[in-house]
Amino acid sequence: MSGAVVVVTGALTGIGDATASAFARRGDVVVVSVVMTMSASGWPVISRTLGLRTRCSCMPTSGSSVRPPR
């Protein structure tokens, strides 16, 4: 099913990160949804597994509080 469009919520760490990375390695298009934290360098770290560091397309949010990622 390579090339599928996949959305993973809570993808910052742990199971979500591993799942997003697995789909990406298969060649799928993966959209990750996270409550974002910033790395020390100021860049969002999206996937520790893949080692991706990328600028994110950020949406305005409702000002909700940030919670620890799963």
């Binding site: 919520t9 591993a18 799942t19």
Partner: protein, 191 residues
């Protein structure tokens, strides 16, 4: 995409942005969740309830709602909700986590029933102890060792092992599987 899917506007935006950019939606994995504050029933509060159910149940409900609307129009798709063995077991000190994960499995079942005529499958994965930040946060090192010591496999699961289960449920190998929860717990529930 920065989105807090407890808010419907943001849950909708994740799906709408994806479909607008890529034209379709094949698989979604609803993993956003929390263990909440660990407490027994007699110490649980309304605020703790709102925080735990808001993330584990409401956020998943909103995500499934908007994912399913797109997949119904497509006539295909697979949704996987990440729950926990606490969706099938009790734990006296984790009242709201247990209750919310039971609700999540119920949500998966009822959503799957409605999705069947549209060719959309909805399942859940229920991990046991998994070596994640959540596990480290929720249990002291001693409690982690005690917990994994009760696992017949003798260790916590790995995130990539959960990912493998998700990919199985999302893939073509499981066309007749819907409304189910695949528990991935190192056989804890078999005890």
């Amino acid at each position: 995409m920065h989105a807090d899917v407890r808010f419907e506007r943001e849950a909708t935006a994740v799906i709408a942005t994806t479909v607008s950019r890529f034209g379709r939606l094949d698989v979604t994995v609803n993993n956003a969740g929390t263990e909440g504050r660990l407490a027994p029933v007699v110490e649980s509060t309304i605020l703790q309830y709102a925080a735990t159910f808001g993330t584990n149940v409401l956020a998943t409900l909103l995500s499934v709602k908007h994912e399913l609307r797109v997949m119904q129009r497509q006539g295909s798709g697979a949704i996987i909700n990440i729950t926990s063995v606490f969706g099938d077991k009790g734990a006296p000190s984790s009242a709201l986590d247990v209750a919310s994960n039971h609700a999540l499995i119920g949500l998966t079942r009822i959503a799957a029933l409605g999705a069947v005529p549209f060719g959309v499958r909805i399942n859940a994965v229920g991990p046991g102890y998994v070596d994640t930040a959540m596990f480290a946060r929720a249990a002291s090192p001693d409690n982690q060792a005690a917990g994994t010591g009760r696992v017949p496999h003798g260790r916590a699961g790995r995130p990539d092992e959960v990912a493998d289960a998700v990919m199985f449920l999302a893939g073509p190998e499981a066309p007749y599987l819907t409304g189910q929860t695949l528990f991935l717990d190192g056989r804890v529930k078999a005890n």
